[in-house]
Subunit: 304 residues, 2 copies
């Protein structure tokens, strides 16, 4: 059962960094574990400057192997080793991930202090991590790339009235949530006894690099948060689409079709310095009101 | 003939970065060309935040293949390619440089837009680049590592009085400096005719990672600027020496033995946050007065 889900933008630039924006990486803290989506160069330092702990990263999901999305992997791994990490690190990505990660691990002199598990995901595969799943959707980009959908599982909603009816403490409810039931004063109380409906799981969609993708919109129906790339403004979208990227306007169209609650734009081309970012936000907002252009270190507590 | 030599600290941390300090890299601008010594993760972004141009980097000298000193290479190369660089990039380093660089170049999907020249240097080798030389001194570190000495060549000093005697303009003097002589009104005027002694070349010593090295002190006799690693303060120097590092106190001893003009300390362990850096500076200054602990983006115009 996950209590806190926090989304942290670690790098919001695309292609190369700018003084304001680091290379692509998004951190998602799920209680005590931390997941990264993409790990551009400099991510370890961005982690150190954020509220997340670089040592608590458990899983890294790479969208694809263009340098800006994964060249921070070697540095983070070597720093973890210098800090004597023992816990396993899991790395997921599209086909070729094993070769790319192995190549990276062969760079420089060091002795790994912890095990690394690498897994190549197939298109549309859903990975089940207990309290949540992550699904990989094929993105529209010149190299094999994924969009990822993180979805907390739906669970039975606990009714405060029913809790009181059975005189249950919060601790006892936690046990029921975990084990399915509790034996209290000789009586078995089940999860069904104290729930009055379904608590919908929270969800985060991360587009990675992609031109507008209707399949992603379908797969993201009614999700909570969509983080979509918006490399350029609409005046440059034809060219951007050719290279497998989207404009802010197109990202907003996808969010609207998907009917998500919030849209965060990222992967902003370094051509858009602080004063020009408003252009992207405005054109997206005219289509999808609840849009924000992400900034490095922006944090979102994902609410139920 | 070099006019301006500017030293820029691009990253002054050691082992891993801190919020204040990036990974090791030093930029030296020699008029229009820019040389890097080491290229830790994040160097391309540090370059973009400095007064140097990442596209004007012509040569990179890597001291050794511990991750903190070279993991920014792939990102810079791929960004140069995305910006359609055509000029050759030269990469120098200790034995194994060709294998390490080749491995790095095989990471990710991209097509290199420019030629890369890689050269492994031998201990004590001097590379001659016309107006300046770079010498590699074996450092005292667990893996094959270099200290580098950049030395502008000595040249004949132009006398203002002799310039006036021959009624020469600055432009004419430039031609003499370049070609050795000029034909003015049917008379040949040579460099010897207008010089009254030797103008000593400027010099920069970069220790890279090393425990105290008397050979480096000898090789650096009377040099202008020494940039020396100072991973820890003297209370931790025994342990630091075991790992091939120096304390601030020991760096100052080397600078004193070498009789350099200025000492800049770098490769500061991330344990020394802003408030504790003064400790390093004070212990070095008590031995070698002209010491400064370098900060990221600090710039020094190297005077004749």
């Amino acid at each position: 059962m996950i209590s806190t889900i926090k989304l942290v933008f670690l790098g919001t630039s695309g292609s190369w960094p700018s003084p304001e924006r680091g290379m692509p990486s998004i951190g998602v803290q799920l209680d005590s574990e931390c997941i990264l989506f993409d790990i551009g160069e400099g991510t370890q330092r961005q982690l150190m400057m954020s509220s997340l702990s670089f040592m608590k990263v458990t899983k890294i999901f790479i969208t694809h192997f263009h340098g800006d999305h994964f060249l921070g992997l070697g540095g983070l791994i070597q720093t973890m080793t210098l800090n004597d990490r023992k816990e396993k690190l899991e790395i997921y990505g599209p086909p070729d991930t094993i070769r790319q990660v192995s190549t990276f691990l062969n760079l420089g002199y060091y002795s790994l202090s912890f095990p690394i598990f690498v897994r190549e995901i197939e298109d549309n595969e859903i990975l089940d991590f207990g309290d949540y799943t992550i699904k990989a959707i094929r993105a529209k980009h010149p190299v094999h790339s994924f969009s990822y959908i993180l979805k907390e599982k739906d669970r039975k909603r606990i009714s405060r009235e029913l809790m009181e009816k059975y005189s249950l403490t919060s601790k006892e409810v936690d046990i029921i949530s975990k084990n399915g039931s509790i034996n209290k004063n000789g009586k078995l109380i089940t999860l069904d006894d104290i729930s009055d409906g379904i608590r919908k799981g929270r969800s985060i969609v991360y587009s990675g690099d992609t031109s507008p993708n209707d399949i992603l919109a379908e797969e993201s129906r009614n999700m909570k948060i969509m983080v979509h790339e918006a490399t350029v403004d609409s005046s440059l979208e034809t060219k951007a689409n050719e290279y497998g990227h989207s404009s802010a306007r197109q990202a907003a169209e996808i969010a609207k079709k998907a009917n998500v609650e919030y849209l965060y734009l990222t992967h902003i081309s370094p051509r858009y310095r602080a004063d020009k970012v408003k252009l992207l936000e405005n054109e997206a907002k005219s289509i999808f009101e609840k849009t924000v252009v992400a900034r490095d270190f922006m944090e979102i507590m994902v609410q139920v």
